[in-house]
Symmetry: C2
Amino acid sequence: MTSFAADATVAELGESGILRLIERFCSNQVGDDAALMGGMAADQEMVITTDMLIENVHFSDATTSAYDVGWRAAAANLSDLAAMGAVPWGLLIALGLPKETPISWLENMYQGFGECLKTYGTELVGGDTVRSPIRTLAVTAFGQVRQGAAWQRNTAQMGDAIVITGAHGLSKAGLMLLLEPEVYPMVPLSDAERELCYRAHQRPQPRLDIVQTIRELTDHQSIRITAMDSSDGLADALIQLCQKSRVKASIDWNNVPIPSVLEKVAGIKARHWWLYGGEDFELVLCMPVDLADQLCQVVPECQVIGSITGTIPPDSDRLQDDLLDDVRDDFYVSGLSRRDGFQHFS
Amino acid sequence: MTSFAADATVAELGESGILRLIERFCSNQVGDDAALMGGMAADQEMVITTDMLIENVHFSDATTSAYDVGWRAAAANLSDLAAMGAVPWGLLIALGLPKETPISWLENMYQGFGECLKTYGTELVGGDTVRSPIRTLAVTAFGQVRQGAAWQRNTAQMGDAIVITGAHGLSKAGLMLLLEPEVYPMVPLSDAERELCYRAHQRPQPRLDIVQTIRELTDHQSIRITAMDSSDGLADALIQLCQKSRVKASIDWNNVPIPSVLEKVAGIKARHWWLYGGEDFELVLCMPVDLADQLCQVVPECQVIGSITGTIPPDSDRLQDDLLDDVRDDFYVSGLSRRDGFQHFS
């Protein structure tokens, strides 16, 4: 490869140079019009998801290195597959770049993306690279799940336990430590605590391990599990699961697991960040109580935070019609408002 | 649905309003973390492709209505599936929008996208919508092809006929008529001729019909067919097919089918636009001569334009190493230079 100065840009690399760089990270070298993936076993279904990430909306040089932009983009999409109970099959990246993007940014972004995929046993299989005034990533992830065994959002039932698979609020804490170091933390942190928050923000871990653990616990039988990830915040996930399943939930507010490090960073805002911080990429699951107990025993960071306590009458049209936005959120989860939540588009 | 003023923007619509609008065009209404697609027959493989389109790079309000932005985005991705010999299975759109985007733009874009999918018997199954300073679309299309029957770029052999499936240069002609009406056409056009050019540019037709026709002509046997689409220009397609297959081609330059309307619009530039115009979304195919003859008989707009005349010695490392960019293109196709070609990234 021709060598470039440390600050060389993708414009100097040119189209074919960009392609050669990307090919180092891509398992599909043939360069056809589309990636050929092979077939699926007869008992499998496909799930597929896409996410767009925009510079200065979803990431910025101030808080996110190129490596972490790649890692987070991969992790967010793998988390969507985990939320469906699926196993990853492959990913694509469509990339928009300004001419003045450093080659090193492009390379490090693919490095982070690739490391995340490798960690979770999957591959980049294709993509597209175009010129754009701002850095833009659109990642597509697709995976497989056994016929009838996909987890959805609309299957929760009265009596189900509500389980979260790990800490919430730490991604927000990491972001705020980076953005406003003169304001946060409220109480001094150890290096390890600070690193914990940074990592939660910069290297989120999609919970594909939970998919595997639950499959093993249930002996690969199709147990009814209702799931989504908490990328838009824990509160949003709880409300969505209730809305889609037409059920009410009760959270054990006196006993929710607010991480101690979160209290040190956020002070009185700790509970708020825990609920609304977003981007923790844990799973929020509704399942039979005994399975929930087994899961919490096997995976210590899992915790039951409440249960499904009632159903929304089928003759209530408030869910269907245009009043949806006016429905008070505690119609679903007592004491919870979505208004403060993280909103993708506003 | 709440009614909005004609010039209302997506900011007024809000996140949930945007989602409701999109749901009207999307077959997957459940709103899970990923779309659940079902399984594939045991004898099928999957192909998957993604494309990013940026405002003022790939489209602009000056030449492309919202409806046509949607149509073209769908068509370009379906054309990639056709180039693989595949049948569409579904598509996703990730969309970045400025707050001030008119609701009508969003709606018309989805309308155009949806009409194209409907025309070709497939569906929108999911997506993502985020805030962005510029309008950005990332479309992912996936399809199915029988095991071992995918068309690729690297299988052309000595003696193959080279077939194009339709007119080239007309998309460029349509674009130039829109952009520089005081310069083009060189010779007055009838309304029908003008419309032909506009439509070539604004409503390209992915050649999924050719996939079907060839499958029928070959009785669904796996015949070796080498293919790509001409989205980046006919010259680029010819060179890529030769590079990837390590063969040389000869084009019957004295007998190439330059459309008469192209000569009226472009004058002495007609042949140049035919070769380098791009975005015609036809297929360029290499196949045994007798199959080529059958295809041209059944589909009159298909034409043999040349043949594969030789191979590149396997000990030539010029294809592999960093001299690639310096290789004179007539190393592959006599008299053809890629230098003037359409380049995605420069």
